[in-house]
């Protein structure tokens, strides 16, 4: 308690201008930055996987299962930052039991469960069912036991059943695309619907969140595909990389356009909050917005990927550029979330001043706990790749 007050007194000494006295304490920290970041990665990775399945983009085949498993690994963790930032984490179930119909936040649990249970788990299971059955017959010990459970007792491998798996899987992917849009568009709405906050309250927020989600998810799959191939000492399918990078480039253009449109609209309308927001982006958010998000996270990848659409240097150079760009995009989108979540709380709703945000190392809103929620999905992914290796799947052709 003493430590908390000490932290608040420090913040109080950093206040510029006037803020309401209750605003010294910043409500949402790093954990809530992670929440839209992680959900965005999920939605983006899933949409990339759906491209292969629904739109039959054959060249993306090597990344299909990888993208789905990545989406699942991150989705399993997506609620953790939310729950761990609550004042009463053990009351979190109340959102599911007694959701308040007018609250934008209340529906998250349902959107999340729908997406996890109906879309992702089912799609992965149907996609892997045949292999799980085969593996359950071939593998002994604990792993074999796991496969036996995962078959859920459905061990029929007749061509007719396999065809049905494929049909239902296709149908679920079709349902999954709007679900992925819903999941992340909705996360944008949580912020966009707060009329008290002019930095958040824009009708474009869900759209911006959606496109940035796709950008970050595609970049994540690009990164993971390269990393996994490197670990397995396998040759990377450069054609698949080229295609993913092309999609990343297109979506990045759309994302940048939407965000640009939002800012131009804001600047042109120049409402009551304009002055304070102008000071915000040129002061507290200067590095995280202009340098990290726009320059490093958007413009550099945009230009380099754009150049690669016109001119193709040799494979190694392309791989290095793709690798760096994927990391830059992931870095940039993280700061996009930071600029929204933290930026929106740095200025007073009186529009007369600023508070400050200092990242703490330990504690419930500290870097350490946030790092945990970033690392855990990778551990889950490692486990899933061990259990359900996409490279050992039987393919029809």
């Amino acid at each position: 308690m003493e430590q908390q007050y000490q932290h608040l007194y420090e913040m109080l000494s950093q206040v510029q201008g006037y803020i309401y006295p209750n605003e010294v304490d910043l409500q949402w920290g790093l954990l809530i930055v992670l929440y839209p970041y992680i959900t965005g990665l999920v939605a983006g990775a899933f949409i990339l996987a759906s491209l292969e399945r629904v739109f039959n983009v054959k060249v993306l085949k090597p990344t299909y299962e990888l993208a789905l498993l990545t989406a699942l690994s991150f989705l399993l963790v997506a609620t953790m930052p939310l729950v761990s930032h609550l004042g009463h984490p053990f009351r979190a179930y109340e959102i599911l039991i007694t959701p308040h119909s007018t609250s934008a936040m209340a529906i998250f649990g349902f959107v999340y469960l729908w997406y996890l249970m109906v879309v992702l788990l089912l799609e992965i299971w149907l996609d892997y069912r045949r292999d799980i059955v085969i593996w359950s017959r071939q593998t002994k010990g604990f792993k074999g036991f796991l496969y036996k459970i995962l078959t859920l007792g459905v061990t029929d491998l007749s061509p007719k059943t396999i065809k049905w798996d494929d049909k239902i899987g296709y149908f679920i992917t079709v349902v999954g695309i709007p679900s992925a849009f819903l999941l992340h568009g909705y996360v944008g709405f949580i912020f966009g619907s707060i009329k008290a906050n002019p930095w958040w309250s824009t009708v474009l927020m869900p759209v911006i969140f959606l496109f940035s989600a796709m950008v970050s998810g595609i970049a994540l799959v690009l990164f993971i595909y390269m990393a996994v191939s490197w670990f397995r000492k396998q040759k990377i399918d450069i054609l698949a990389l080229d295609s993913i990078a092309k999609f990343l480039f297109y979506i990045l253009i759309l994302d940048f356009t939407m965000e640009g449109l939002d800012q131009i609209h804001r600047i042109y309308e120049a409402e009551e909050s304009f002055e304070i927001l102008y000071l915000l982006v040129h002061g507290h958010l200067f590095y995280t917005l202009f340098i990290f998000q726009i320059l490093l996270g958007t413009l550099v990848p945009l230009v380099s990927l754009g150049v690669l659409q016109l001119y193709k240097p040799k494979e190694l150079t392309r791989r290095i550029i793709y690798f760096c760009d994927s990391l830059l995009v992931l870095f940039g989108i993280f700061f996009m979330r930071y600029n929204v979540v933290i930026g929106g709380q740095l200025f007073s709703k009186s529009f007369y001043g600023f508070t400050d945000y200092k990242v703490r190392i330990a504690g419930s809103e500290g870097i350490l706990l946030s790092l945990v929620w970033i690392i855990v999905p990778f551990l889950i992914l490692t486990f899933l790749l061990w259990l359900l290796p996409p490279w050992k799947k039987t393919h029809d052709n």
Partner: protein, 256 residues
Amino acid sequence: MATQGIEKSRRNFIKKAAAAGGLLATTFLLNPYNAILFATEKPEDPTKPWWGYGIDIQKCIGCGQCANACKSENNVSREPFYFRTWVEQYTIKNDGTVKVESPNGGIDGFQQTVPEADIFKSFYVPKMCNHCYKSPCVQACPVGATYETPDGVVLVDETYCIGCRYCVQACPYGCRYIHPEKNVADKCTLCYHRISKGSTTACVEVCPTQARIVGNLNDKQGPLVKFLKEHTCLVLKPHLNTGSKLYYNALSGEVR
């Protein structure tokens, strides 16, 4: 010809039935979606009290006794980050710039830091929960722990609040904070424990200049309605359509 007539009347019937069915379906469908229609909901039962609040800025002397009494009455932390009510000092300078201060919420009083020659005008603005009837905080609460009582007071059920802080973000007036020990949202209750027993709020009780009035908006002869009738009153941030029931007399355009 006759067949055509039957065809026509049948077509009309189908059209009408479809229209009626559509209307019925829309009514039923929209009902659970009052989430979307939230900001148009009508409150109040005219026979019961409906609490509102009035503040006369011309009468406030910035003594901060209201903020102090509120903390004592409601057991609010004495740290300067938690206030159910506080007083702001506005100073408009001759060059048009605005200086706002509220050291410790005004509890320790104010000192004018702007030289007298530079001051165009200066005044005090007490702030507190607006007890909006279209409250953004009530709308945002994901579990319904924040609610509006039938007599128009916005309260928090501290045994139910999960501490997500969404309501703090949703309040445009900065009236909410997270209770440092209970970890739940906390705010002005309009001294519900007092007003529901016929007494007045702590802040109104201690105000030496009667700058604050709490009252029943349904009581057309009551002091609050009289105050509203006799003064030109405004609410804060009216463009946000929160249905604020905190009315200020002599509210200057600079106040936010």
